[in-house]
Each structure stands twice: as C-alpha cells, then as structure tokens.
C-alpha cells in the first residue's frame, strides 16, 4: 500500500495541476499579506477561501484522478496486490499531495511574514488542520462516487452536487428550518446541525477563535461554551475524523465487491 501511495503521491506531485494548485495558494498567501500585513486579518480572509475552495478542489481532484487512473488501476488489479492496498493507497496519495500543496503553499508566505512572531499562529494552524481534514473528507467522498459510477459524466455530476449540497444547500435548509421552528429553542438543534456538516463545523471552529465571534451574541456564547472546552475540540476533531473514516470504509467495501 505504501508503494502505491508513494507512486500516486509522486505522480501527482509531478503533474501540472498540482503545481497550479500549489502556486495558487502561494500567490494567494503572498497577495493577501502584501495587501494587508496584519496576519490575523489575513487569516479571516483565508478562512472564506479555505472553507469553499478546499472542498471543491478535493472533490474535483478526487473524481478526476480516479477516472484518469482507471486503466492503471485495472493493470494493478492484474498483479498479486491486495485490492484494499490499491484503492486506499491511491486515495491517500491524492489526499496527501493536495494537503501538502495547501499547507506548503500557504505556509511559505505566512512564514515569510512572520507567523511565528504573531498571536495568530494558533488560528493559522487551526485553519491548516481543518483545511487538511476537508481535503481528506472530500477526496474520499469523491473517490467513492467515482468508484460507484462507471459513467464519468454521472460521477462528476454527483461529486459536484455533493459539494454544492455541503457548501450551499445544507446551509439553506438549515436556515429554513431555523426560521420555520423559530418558536422553539434551537440552540441544541443548531449545535448538532453544524456538527453534522464538515464545512460548517470548520467555519464555526475558526470563527469562534477570532474576534468576530463577539457578533454571534447569545448563540455564539453557547457554541463557545461547547467548542471552547477541551472536550468540545476533541468532539469536533472526532466528528471530522469520522467524516474521513466512514467514506474510506465505504471505499474499501466497494473496492472489495466491485467487478472490474
């Protein structure tokens, strides 16, 4: 499995798209910090980008890489290698290389502008950690979608719809249910509803760490009480981890059963 992981990783690291992805973050980081040397303000702006773009890139890369390397997978299947190793190895290769681009791409400009001397170091590392998680989550899900759909167009479609659902539609449904049930106490509901969506969860985790959390008033205070404690962080990280483990498990099950 390690060999396949290594192979996919270096294959991707050599590919043009990885460079583009890496260069994009590098440029974004430098431009942001050039326009606004306040590191903690830059973290807020970056959050918006990370929350939306990282899942989208994870989704697209995952499904694209799966379809592109399908012939290679079939070749590997003919060899005496465990199926789990092939698929999980490939998935980890893609996800790791994307995370690598993200962390190094954003890390370099922030290092240059002195993130270690700033108070924002914790916020920034939280941003990178959630960014990494989001990459792993969305790559896994798109891999699973690719694996389940022979038809490329369908696979792409489902993957994009899934991203759209998590990034936009979920919040819409969330908001509608808040308005419909406004006569009821909604704090626990909104806490669980935001735990259930990795994008929302990442956004709230980062927001609560920033000054802007004061705007969230009473509701923010409840969230702060939950996420502010050691347990809250452990639970949040646990949920994110669960979002990685479940799709990986699904990939494994599908890979073992699938008839090529």
């Amino acid at each position: 499995m390690i060999k396949i992981l290594k192979y996919s990783f270096f294959d991707l690291m050599r590919s043009r798209w990885s460079y583009v992805y890496f260069a994009f973050y590098l440029l974004l980081g430098f431009v942001l910090l050039f326009l606004n040397t306040d590191v903690s303000k830059a973290v807020i702006t970056l959050m918006n980008v990370v929350i939306i773009l990282v899942p989208l890139m994870g989704t697209l890369f995952g499904v694209m890489y799966y379809y592109n390397s399908k012939e290679f997978i079939e070749l590997l299947l003919a060899q005496p290698i465990k199926r789990t190793s092939i698929f999980i190895g490939q998935y980890l290769g893609v996800a790791t290389s994307l995370t690598f681009s993200l962390i190094v791409g954003l890390g370099i400009p922030f290092l240059v502008y002195g993130i270690f001397k700033s108070d924002a170091i914790l916020d920034f590392s939280l941003l990178l950690v959630t960014g990494g998680f989001l990459t792993f989550i969305f790559t896994a899900i798109s891999f699973y979608i690719g694996l389940s759909n022979e038809n490329k167009i369908k696979g792409f479609g489902y993957a994009i719809v899934f991203w759209l659902f998590m990034a936009v539609i979920y919040d819409g449904l969330f908001l509608i249910s808040l308005i419909v049930f406004e006569a009821y106490p909604l704090d626990t509901f909104s806490l669980f509803a935001s735990l259930a969506n990795p994008i929302d969860l990442s956004r709230i985790l980062i927001l609560l760490k920033l000054d802007i959390s004061a705007l969230m008033g009473y509701t923010g205070a409840i969230f702060q009480k939950f996420f502010g404690t050691q347990w809250g962080v452990v639970i949040a990280m646990g949920v994110l981890l669960l979002w990685v483990i479940v799709p990986v498990f699904l990939i494994r099950r599908k890979a073992l059963k699938k008839d090529f």
């Binding site: 959050m47 918006n48 929350i51 939306i52 990034a167 936009v168 539609i169 919040d171 819409g172 969330f174 908001l175 808040l178 308005i179 406004e182 909604l186 704090d187 909104s190 935001s194 994008i199 929302d200 956004r203 709230i204 927001l207 000054d211 802007i212 004061a214 705007l215 969230m216 008033g217 009473y218 509701t219 923010g220 205070a221 969230f223």
Partner: protein
C-alpha cells in the same frame, strides 16, 4: 453674620509641624471664606465635613487616606473649592454610597485637580447645582458590578460642568440621574466595569469631545430628551453584550460628528424619536446601527459607514426614518454624471441581518457561502427588507468630517 463679612479671610496651614496637624481640626476652627492650605504629607482622616464656604488647597498633592473606614469629604455649604488633593481608601458599604467627595445641597462649588484611588464612589453630587468638576483623575480597582461604585455621579444636580476628567476602572465612569442642563466635555472614560457614561432621566445636557473606550458595556443613554452629543469617540467596546452607544427612549436629540469604531454594536437604538444623526463615522463595527423598533422620524445623513460587518439592522418592514446623503463603503453603484452622488439607491439592510434579527440562532451561519448568495440576490431585488429603506443619494466618496 456681620463679623463673618467684615473679618478678612485668612489662610490656615495644615502640616506635621504646623498649629493644625489634622485637616479635621483646621476645618472646624476655620471661619467662612478662609483658605486651608494642606502641605505635603499623609493624613489618615475620614468623615471630614466642610460646612462653610472654604477653599481647600493641597500643596504638592497631600494624601488623605480614609483607611477604608467610610466617606472622606462631605461638602454641605455653597462656594466651596477643593483643589489638588490625593484621596485614597474610601470605605465600601452595601447600604451607604461612601464616596471620596460628596457634595450635598450646595451650589457654586469647584472640585478640581483631585486624584482619587482605591475608591468606592468618587465624586458624588447630591441635589447640588451650578458646580464645576474639573481636571480630576479617578482610578478605581473595580472588578465586579455589585461591589463597586461610580466615578462621578450626579443625582438631582443641575447646571454642572464636568470637564477634562480621566476616569478608569470604576463601575460607571460618569453617571447622571435627574441631572438637567449639564455639560460633560473633554473627559476620558475607559476600562470601566459597566458603562463609560450612563444617564437616565436627564434632559437638556451637552456631551462634547469625550472619549469612551473599552468599557464593559459602552455608553447608555436612557429616558431623556434634548440631548446633544458632539464629537465624542466611542471605541473598542467589544464583547457579546457591548455597544458603543445605547439609546433607549431618547427624543429630540442631536448626535453629530462622533466616531464609532470597533464596537460590537455602534449605536443600539430603541424607542427613540426625532433624533438626528449627522456627520458621524462608523468604522469596523459589528453592527454600525441596530434599530430595535419603535423608532420614528429619525434622520441619518452625511454619515460615513466604513467596513462594518452590518451597516444597519432593522426590525420589521415599516420604515419612517430617512437615510440620505451618507457614504457607504459597501455601495457598489456608479456615478455617470460625476456629481459625487451615486445614481443607484443603496440598500443598507442586508437580508442576513434581517433574518438574524428574527431568528438569532441564524447568526451561526455568518460568513458562509449561502449567506453571501442570498445577500447578493436580495440586493438585486429586495423582497424581505423594507423597500423604502434606502439611501437615494449615496455619496461616492468618504465625507470629510473635520470641519463639523
């Protein structure tokens, strides 16, 4: 009576080697219109009563240490001047408002150049009028609201001038209750546990050139009319229950040329009518203005709204207030004829701020993509926000407020 008028006023000195070694003795034996000069030193005294017109001057800031036993100076006569004293250790009581200096039913007093530390209440004016509180420094050590007092308190006191005082770490910096025709100018009130300035039932007052900074809740103005607030700075009141300025039941007032910067809520308005807000700058607040309803015929014009998360939050669909000629950093219209006024009206209320008002829990969706999308679509074609709530003549450039 006649002898008091004819006798020349004399100066009585108080020091460790003088005839009077205690301030209390000097006060008791002084006659009206005398001057008491307190030399540098430490005087452990409290319950000092000034019951005749005297001038009490400290030389090089003598320390009057109340040793936490109670009230320190009580003035019960007209024409008293206190100048240059360092007063510390006022007693704390839950039944009496012990204060460093209390003025009771007196007129024409001057309290200046005092330094107050370790206090419960600072300067307490009770049914006293025509006085001046000038250039004092009040440094408390308050941590909780329930066991701390106010810096300068005016109660049923009229025509008082409060000028150039610095007040920090007390409960309310300046507190006015039933105090009319007062002027509060050039004061700095910061880091107080509750309000920087707090006034209730006080009419016809002027607040000018004050700075209110990082107070627990900001500045609260309630149940008053004919208030003028000019050129004050409200900043750094940041926290879940903080605001720059709270207006509740304020009528017929003018708020002009103030700066509201980095507050969770710039101005929180409730039940206030016929108030004009002009030439103010709202910068980097969470909400610049939060209108909670029952606000009619207010005028907002020539203000700058710069980079606030929400410029305006509004309750309900009814709008009876006018928003014209303001500069909004959010405005993205155009100006074809180059007259400096945007050709497209600006809608200051975002849909999300409307929703978050109705369902406070929705604020948890702050800064999500969905919210940006609905805000954009609402801006293009308003459905939920009051359609007459708009600035028909938004300025294209930031308005210079220097000369107002």
């Amino acid at each position: 009576m006649i002898s008091a008028w004819t006798a020349h006023s004399k100066t009585i000195e108080v020091c460790t080697t003088c005839k009077f070694q205690k301030i209390g003795d000097a006060l008791a034996s002084a006659s009206a219109n005398d001057t008491i000069l307190i030399k540098k030193g430490v005087y452990k005294e409290f319950n000092l009563s000034i019951d005749k017109p005297l001038t009490v001057i400290g030389e090089n800031y003598p320390i009057i240490d109340g040793t936490l036993k109670g009230e320190i100076i009580r003035i019960t006569a007209d024409h008293v001047t206190l100048d240059g004293l360092f007063i510390i250790n006022v007693g704390t009581s839950y039944t009496e408002d012990f204060s460093a200096v209390r003025v009771v039913r007196s007129e024409y007093f001057v309290i200046k150049n005092l330094v107050l530390e370790k206090l419960f209440f600072g300067i307490y004016l009770e049914k006293s009028s025509h006085g001046r509180v000038f250039h004092n420094k009040i440094i408390g050590d308050a941590e909780e609201e329930f066991n701390s007092g106010n810096g300068i308190q005016l109660w049923y006191s009229h025509h008082i001038e409060v000028d150039q005082n610095i007040i920090t770490h007390v409960r309310d910096g300046i507190y006015l209750e039933f105090a009319d025709h007062c002027t509060i100018t050039n004061n700095i009130s910061r880091d107080n546990v509750r309000y920087g300035l707090h006034f209730m039932f006080s009419n016809d007052d002027l607040y000018e050139d004050n700075t209110f900074e990082k107070n627990g809740a900001g500045v609260a103005v309630m149940f008053s009319k004919n208030i003028e607030m000019y050129h004050n700075t409200f900043q750094g009141n940041w926290g879940t229950a903080s605001y720059g300025l709270l207006l509740k039941e304020i009528n017929d007032s003018k708020i002009k040329g103030n700066i509201f910067k980095e507050n969770t809520i710039g101005i929180n308005i409730e039940g206030s009518n016929r108030v004009s807000y002009t030439y103010n700058t709202f910068e980097k607040n969470g909400w610049a203005i939060k209108s909670r309803g029952a606000c009619y015929t207010n005028i907002f014009s020539e203000n700058n709204f710069l980079y606030n998360t929400f410029d305006l939050s509004y309750n309900g669909k009814l709008n009876d207030n006018s928003f014209n000629d303001n500069y909004w950093s959010d405005y993205n219209g155009y100006d074809l004829n180059k007259d400096g006024v945007g050709d497209v009206p600006h809608k200051p209320v975002k849909l999300f701020s409307y929703v978050a008002n109705r369902t406070p829990e929705a604020i948890i969706l702050l800064r999500s993509l969905f919210i940006d999308l609905i805000d954009f679509s609402e801006k293009v074609s308003p459905v939920f926000t009051p359609d007459n709530l708009e600035d028909a003549s938004p300025k294209m450039k930031r308005i210079a407020h220097d000369h107002y």
